[in-house]
Symmetry: C2
Subunit: 459 residues, 2 copies
């Protein structure tokens, strides 16, 4: 007879309540039956064995910084939190890899490898609070992804506990390997619906030079978008190329005076970590910006100044919190449609009478339009949010560039994927989690979870 | 009632015979019932619909340059050859992507995008004869992968025909996207066992400078391996870092006099496409090589000379064809175990009385030991081949870095993967190809293919 791991499990309602949600807006959260704070692989195995036997849904959680409701509680579920599995198991300098548990914070890993002259590039906006396990679950991106790639590009191997509690290793420590299906990449981005990740082997790179940066101001976002295309068309791969629209600049200005001119139409920030070639790259950026009608361009001479130039972009998220409520989107479009996306978002904001501040990873075409609204505008905000996703799809893009589907966007996944792709999702989910206990109803609308079979006395 | 596409299908025994095999050694090939040379998506759809209805195994083929028997005929199968689907559909310079049909030759695509100032990095040794579809099926690598990544790192989207003939799109044209499971990466490297790829959207990079190169000579492979570690430890990412052992150099010397000194123990070749920084990178390589007891180092001044330095490495494959028979392996180990791998291979060669010439992508730890033998040594050659894979696994590596499992290594896959991973493979195969008609018995040992149900009169 299995049981939940006694020492790691609680059913204290106050504690459960504190773990019920991630950071998504407008996502329901149910009442969990228990919280397991796993401190060992064995805790995870035991939890899944028990849940599998009893047909109880399990919601895997890390530090719950997700923005799509994928870690919110389901009624009667076990919350399986792995944030205490937070050990950096190994940093292998010669092989340029690290092995970490899923609860390690992104910035903690980045700092630890930096001390050894190495670099872990994926840098989601949440890097100071989000865990590697969560980054893997959503295949998180960030600013540096334009040059270096997203989380999945750095995952070499996983240890995963399957729905029935069996432990599986995927991938390998080697730089290359094609023995069998790419299970590693299948589990990356699967948002806890196929298994629970308990160890991650990541590839590292040699440390780069501290970045320099340049900032350009434009009268219109269209000009800024043209500058993005012009700069990338010149064959440069900047370490970041970030856009802020007028509403974002205004929100940041309200939070802190960084000297952004009032009434600016758009801001573009480029970063280069190319060392001795950084000034050359930033000069090329300045040229592109001026060619596209930039009203001013400031190029940093040293890394400290560069850091200051990036500060406005980094404060965008915080600046949105001055508003009563926010709903952050994550559409990604082909770069040539970036201007059409930003224009369309302005139309949508006007139509629904809400404010939408748009900023994001312009070099990747990945924007984070944030609907900023009063509580009595909740319906309009959600309609605007939906229209932004619809627009992203119409422009040949995707509903999510890096945040994931979770609960928030699962209805929209069916609009993005064709029927055969949806069928493949369901088949794979059914094949690897036949009882449907792993984060059911997230990503894809799976079938019933067998909750009715639950033996209430088991825990 | 379905039928095979009349205009594209032949059952002429002479033609069938010509299409029965890829380039693997020691892999059986059966007698196909028919060959479909698809010229349209519809031909592929119709073939799979028919095969699915009748439970007939289908072996997808490109230009049949594979080295693991994955494209060899099975008794009674339909060979579904897509080499005539060879159109470059689109090169989008602004988005830096190309859309190609699977039969496009790797080098053809590379040349076409180069004309537009772009670069498609994956460069398998077979690049002049292998197709993008085959590269995708095996997740092919190459020399440039050390710096740029393998085929899968450049695949953004696929059009795939599923086992039952339904057409599916995976992925997207955008730089990023996490909507749903990463079906693209699941199909990359699946060797025709999950679906037939009919269109590939690849990411491109801006063109790089024509590479410069340097060559270093050593008395022992151990010295050369230390130089690899030293060079990469210095934070350089060369565009290629290739090793040739003494037996490889001897084989090349027999083919063509390139001025390689007789009796050299090992050769290391580094390539840099870093433009103005290339001389600096190659100077660092020379430093590492001399530190590790290189007997001589030659650094090229210009791209034409660099090309000459690479010629020896490029001729390795051809030089092996001077021997009566060859069996090329593809193990990949953690870089620190490279010297142990090469040493162990020498011991294995001595034990079985065969010649093994080892060369490959030292920077990735991916070696191609080639067993060179007389026809009466076939048993010894296969035993030596098996021992090399065993050694690779013992050293923490994989049985295949870039060639794939196919038929040749399917028994070995079960040694590399754990039980849960093998189970996951079987579940996924069963989920996406329930009748088991797609390249059955390749990669994984799947169950019976339903061949007994075949209606012989259907074709």
């Amino acid at each position: 007879m299995t049981s939940l791991p006694a020492g790691a499990t609680t059913d204290d309602p106050d504690v459960l309540d504190a773990y019920r949600t991630d950071r998504a807006t407008f996502c329901p959260s149910g009442t969990p039956r228990a919280l397991v704070r796993a401190r060992s692989l064995e805790d995870v195995v035991q939890t899944l064995r028990w849940a599998h036997e009893h047909g109880v849904p399990v919601v895997p959680q890390g530090t719950r910084t997700g923005l799509s409701g994928g870690a919110n509680a389901l009624d009667g579920c076990v919350l399986l939190n792995v944030e205490k599995l937070d050990r950096i198991v190994e940093i292998d300098v010669e092989e340029q890899i690290a092995v970490v548990q899923p609860g390690v914070i992104n910035a903690t890993l980045a700092a630890a490898v930096a001390e050894k002259g190495l670099y872990y590039p994926p840098d989601p906006g949440s890097k100071d609070i989000s865990s590697i396990g969560g980054n893997v679950a959503t295949n998180a991106g960030g600013m540096c992804c334009l040059k270096y790639g997203v989380t999945g590009d750095f995952v070499r191997a996983l240890q995963v506990v399957l729905a029935d509690g069996r432990v599986m290793r995927t991938g390998r420590r080697t730089a290359k390997g094609v023995a069998g299906y790419d299970l590693t990449r299948l589990f990356v981005g699967s948002e806890g619906t196929l298994g629970v990740v308990t160890e991650v082997t990541v590839a590292l790179r040699p440390a780069t030079a501290r970045p320099l940066a340049a900032i350009a101001f434009f009268d219109t976002t269209a000009d800024a978008c043209r500058a993005v295309a012009d700069h990338l068309g010149a064959g440069i791969r900047p370490a970041a190329l970030e856009l802020m629209d007028a509403a974002t600049v205004a929100a940041v200005n309200r939070l802190k005076d960084l000297g952004f001119p009032d009434g600016v139409g758009a801001v573009l920030i480029a970063q280069s970590d190319a060392g001795t070639r950084a000034p050359e790259e930033l000069a090329a950026f300045e040229l592109s910006a001026r060619k596209c009608a930039a009203t001013d361009v400031i190029v940093s001479d040293d890394p400290a100044e560069a850091d200051l130039l990036m500060q406005g972009r980094r404060l965008a998220g915080l600046s949105f919190e001055q508003y009563p409520a926010t709903l952050v989107d994550d559409v990604c479009v082909p770069r040539r449609n970036l201007a059409a996306l930003v224009d369309g978002i302005e139309r949508i904001a006007a139509e629904y009478g809400v404010l939408i501040a748009t900023c994001g990873h312009a070099g990747d075409g990945n924007m984070h339009p944030a609907v900023l609204f009063d509580h009595d505008q909740a319906v309009a905000a959600q309609q605007a949010f939906a229209d932004v996703m619809r627009l992203g799809l119409e422009l040949g893009g995707t509903i999510t560039g890096e945040h994931g589907v979770g609960f928030l966007k699962r209805e929209w996944l069916a609009r993005e994927l064709d029927e055969a792709a949806l069928w493949s999702h369901q088949q794979i989910k059914q094949a690897l989690d036949p009882r449907g206990i792993l984060n059911p109803g997230r990503v894809i609308n799976s079938t019933a979870t067998g909750r009715t079979e639950v033996d209430q006395r088991s825990f």
